[in-house]
């Protein structure tokens, strides 16, 4: 089944390019560490999922590129075309002349309705090229005008128009929340030893993370049968309740190519780190706080998660671990099934799933990705809401939004909703 990607705004398009590049490079990686037949099945599955029929041999990404000003899309298209290995469809972009000015209201209330028909038509065309549609992958930043505002508008439209398909929004958080860019920045600095970090480096790390989750994985039937409904399976495992749909991705290992040549890993080692990353809410494998432990079962819980406490334990609703590489079947995951890690709603057997695939990812002999529905994102969300509230209380910048039809009421509604989400996630400890 195929996934159609919608890349929105500068950030969405820059990252989207790196994602397709990572997916393509990985699927054509010679060191699959598996049999030729398996490798071919992997390639075919990846291709069906993310690329469409080639004209003259070059696969075309199943993507729609949207931006309100042309510079980034032009760059993205030419970068792909120049690589010679894959490209974007010639008619898959929608572009205007003037951007959204970093204004959500402009992206949502002005660009949205104005260009609704053209954009949805483009998406429809892309959907028609799929034999069967698994769902949509939407890449957007939160801080700007197009990705954020127009992205919200498009997501709503997709909900209405394709109500049976699944949507996954990959959002990029602004700097200063400790999430995404900040975290990836640190990954680039500490683990990958990149001296002058560019946005390209950051985007490539993100692309690697996403690739390691969305590349084909074996379904229950075993080898050669790759999962047909990745989005559905993912959501079934991880999103039991519509109020809780914020997922976080953690990846291990992450290192520069040079270091990779000299490193070996064991599944036990990798998984131990990954588990601790989960419960201590660390973003990378260095500087993990090993003091954090799950509450001992049988003892009363320590009370509501306090956002100010330094060493709080990260409670999960559900987790999915995706393992790729050598000897993957020998990996032992019992520690992830510990009921102490989870809320009491689901039986641990339902709260935790693992997908194992022999075929290695990228250049990593062994790699593990954790997609989790947990309290991962509460702190950054809380931080953003706090900053926004302070600004709103001073009425700063409000005139820039009311100019385009977003009223104070709308702001208050959003605040109320987010406070609800934060409160719900905070109470998972009970």
């Amino acid at each position: 089944m195929s996934i159609v990607t919608v890349q929105l705004g500068q950030c969405g398009n820059q990252i989207g390019f790196e994602v397709f590049d990572a997916l393509f490079s990985d699927s054509h990686c010679p060191q699959g560490l598996c049999s030729k037949r398996e490798n071919e099945a992997y390639q075919a599955s990846c291709k069906e999922r993310f690329f469409s029929e080639e004209e003259n041999g070059v696969p075309i990404a199943r993507a729609v590129l949207v931006d309100m000003e042309p510079k980034v899309i032009n760059q993205t298209l030419s970068k792909a075309a120049h690589s010679g290995r894959w490209k974007y469809g010639q008619h898959s972009c929608f572009c205007q002349k003037q951007g959204s000015g970093n204004n959500w209201a402009y992206g949502y209330s002005v660009h949205g309705p104005r260009h609704e028909e053209s954009i949805m038509n483009l998406i429809q065309k892309e959907v028609e090229k799929c034999d069967s549609l698994n769902g949509f992958f939407i890449i957007m930043s939160m801080a700007g005008g197009t990705g954020s505002g127009l992205g919200a508008f498009v997501t709503q439209n997709l909900q209405d128009q394709y109500s049976n398909s699944l949507k996954m929004n990959q959002i990029i958080w602004p700097y200063g929340t400790g999430e995404e860019n900040d975290a990836v920045h640190k990954i680039c600095a500490k683990l990958m030893n990149i001296k002058q970090i560019s946005f390209r480096d950051i985007n490539q790390v993100l692309a690697h993370q996403l690739g390691s989750v969305f590349q084909p994985t074996y379904s229950g039937e075993g080898s050669f049968h790759y999962r047909r409904n990745p989005l559905g399976d993912l959501m079934e495992n991880l999103v039991p309740h519509p109020e809780f749909k914020m997922l976080g991705v953690r990846n291990i290992p992450q290192m520069s190519e040079n270091s990779l040549a000299y490193s070996t890993f064991t599944w036990a080692g990798l998984l131990k780190h990954l588990r601790q990353m989960l419960i201590s809410n660390a973003k990378m494998e260095e500087g993990i706080d090993w003091q954090v432990r799950p509450p001992l079962s049988g003892l009363p819980t320590l009370g509501k998660m306090s956002l100010n406490k330094e060493f709080h334990f990260n409670t999960s609703i559900a987790n999915l671990v995706i393992l790729r590489g050598k000897d993957v079947h020998s990996a032992e995951l019992g520690a992830f099934k510990d009921p102490a890690l989870y809320t009491s709603w689901l039986e641990p057997v339902h709260a935790f799933s693992v997908w194992k695939t022999q075929r290695a990812f990228s250049k990593y002999e062994k790699s593990a990705a954790l997609v989790g529905n947990s309290q991962f994102l509460v702190k950054p969300l809380d931080m953003i809401v706090g900053k926004a509230w302070n600004m709103f209380a001073s009425k700063a910048y409000i005139h820039q939004y009311t100019k385009f039809g977003i009223e104070e009421e709308d702001f208050l509604d959003s605040f109320a909703l987010l406070e609800q989400v934060i409160a719900s996630y905070c109470n998972l400890g009970f």
């Binding site: 002349k97 003037q98 946005f199 600004m391 209380a393 700063a396 820039q400 406070e419 719900s424």
Partner: protein
């Protein structure tokens, strides 16, 4: 890609404008070696086939035929505009885009605003509409003028109201040269005060400049050039004050060096909208991010580097120096002290081979010494444009919305009051039809209200940054 139109008004406005077009041509020539008319050039220039008579000559793609500036030149005396039209840039300007008169405004805002305003309103509208028609997607009007005289000040601000009514969706960025302490025009306080009211009400963004700061920058450069220290040979063309080739042969005019600084400001301001980069910043984003309240739209600008030394290696230490310089008073285009006042927001527009990590590192480094308003502690807007200015490997333009502009306005009010109390020269204004004393008192209240808004923000400076109680929801 969007286009912008420059409207240069009065002697000062036209002289600065002239330097701007000179440097813009040089910049695009350096980047666009194959002389293809591309989107970057089209932001400020039209491509015209001069053999075609009348309006049909515009060419939108392909090789450059003849470039015409997207400009409207307005002056109520002929001297300056004539000189431009006879100078080396004569072919760059469309002779139909001029509005001139003979007698001048006599350093009288009322003459510029009321008399010439009504006299030329139709013509002005016509030229503006023409220039807008030539644009695929017009984003911004840049108005360049001085505050202290009659034409730039009066007619220049009359224009703003016309622009707002006729093109409400197009941004109005105004570069205003404020009178210095020792100004040779006695009535400049009146002119400036009356102009300020218009700027308050009809401009989206104002970049105030004063001659004293420009002069100080020049002195600093001269000192550097003449010091003859080892290893201080300066790269040719890299001076922020130097003109492009056009003026090389003949004697440079006295204000050229100063005007070039302002021209460079405008070039850097628009670079991210014209050229590509990993983090673009369009002109509409400047207004969105830097103007939290509609009236507080005065931005203090500072440019670095002022020159590039001839040695080629640029270790990142020097890059960091560039960021520090941007926050030094020596590099500001207006006399003010942002470090000891309150930042509402700050934009850093970087050009050249600089990465996001360099940017973040320097922001972290400089943050502790700067005070930001409590609700905008991370009020930094950044952009990265990959194309550096001519003669440099990288550059930085900082735009600060900071309460440090308050003293400038307070001083303006004081100079105004001194004159007005004695009713000196007032009759020159009141005898103009449409002018009454209320114009003066209204202008005064407008300025006082503005100063008070800055006062209120300053008062929060000493309060600790407290988080306000949040919404509580039932779980």
């Amino acid at each position: 890609m969007t286009q912008s139109v420059v409207i240069q008004v009065g002697q000062c406005g036209n002289q600065i404008g002239c330097c701007f077009w000179d440097l813009a041509l040089r910049e695009h020539a350096a980047v666009n070696q194959k002389a293809i008319y591309d989107e970057a050039i089209s932001s400020f220039f039209r491509n015209v086939d001069t053999r075609v008579v009348g309006d049909g000559g515009s060419i939108s793609k392909g090789k450059i035929c003849s470039l015409k500036a997207r400009a409207v030149l307005i002056d109520m005396e002929e001297g300056v505009v004539n000189e431009i039209l006879q100078g080396p840039l004569r072919d760059v300007f469309d002779s139909k885009q001029l509005i001139t008169d003979i007698s001048g405004s006599g350093n009288n805002w009322a003459v510029g605003h009321k008399v010439f305003g009504s006299l030329y309103q139709e013509q002005i509208l016509e030229k503006l509409r023409k220039s807008a028609e030539h644009c695929d997607c017009l984003q911004c009007f840049f108005v360049i003028h001085s505050m202290g005289g009659g034409t730039g000040s009066g007619l220049g601000t009359f224009l703003l109201k016309v622009l707002e009514d006729e093109f409400p969706e197009v941004y109005r960025f105004v570069t205003s040269v404020y009178p210095s302490g020792e100004d040779d025009v006695i009535t400049s306080p009146y002119n400036s005060m009356l102009a300020m009211k218009e700027l308050n009400e009809h401009a989206d963004c104002v970049l105030p400049i004063d001659n004293q700061s420009l002069f100080d920058i020049i002195s600093k450069i001269d000192l550097m050039v003449n010091s003859g220290k080892l290893g201080t040979a300066i790269k040719p063309k890299s001076l922020v004050t130097s003109s492009a080739g056009a003026f090389k042969k003949r004697q440079e005019k006295p204000f050229d060096a100063m005007n070039n600084i302002v021209a460079n400001l405008l070039l850097n301001l628009t670079s991210s909208a014209r050229f590509e980069g990993s983090l673009n910043m369009d002109l509409n984003e400047i207004s969105m991010n830097l103007v939290p309240f509609p009236q507080l739209h005065y931005l203090v600008s500072s440019l670095t580097p002022l020159y590039t030394l001839a040695d080629v290696n640029v270790p990142s230490r020097r890059l960091d120096q560039m960021f520090s310089d941007a926050f030094s008073k020596d590099h500001q285009l207006i006399q003010a002290d942002p470090k000891h006042s309150l930042y509402l927001a700050c934009a850093l527009m970087v050009r050249g081979n600089v990465q996001i990590s360099d940017l973040r590192r320097n922001i972290e480094r400089l943050k502790p010494s700067l005070r930001f308003v409590s609700w905008n502690q991370e009020g930094w807007k950044t952009s990265l444009c990959s194309v550096p200015p001519v003669g440099h490997s990288h550059s930085l333009l900082a735009l600060a919305n900071n309460t440090c502009v308050k003293p400038t306005f307070i001083e303006l009010r004081e100079r105004f009051t001194r004159l007005y109390k004695k009713r000196a020269h007032l009759h020159h204004y009141l005898q103009v039809e449409g002018m009454e004393e209320s114009c003066f008192t209204e202008a005064m209240s407008s300025l006082s209200a503005l100063i008070q808004e800055y006062d209120q923000l300053d008062a929060t400076k000493s309060m600790p940054a407290e988080d306000l109680p949040r919404l509580r929801v039932a779980v």
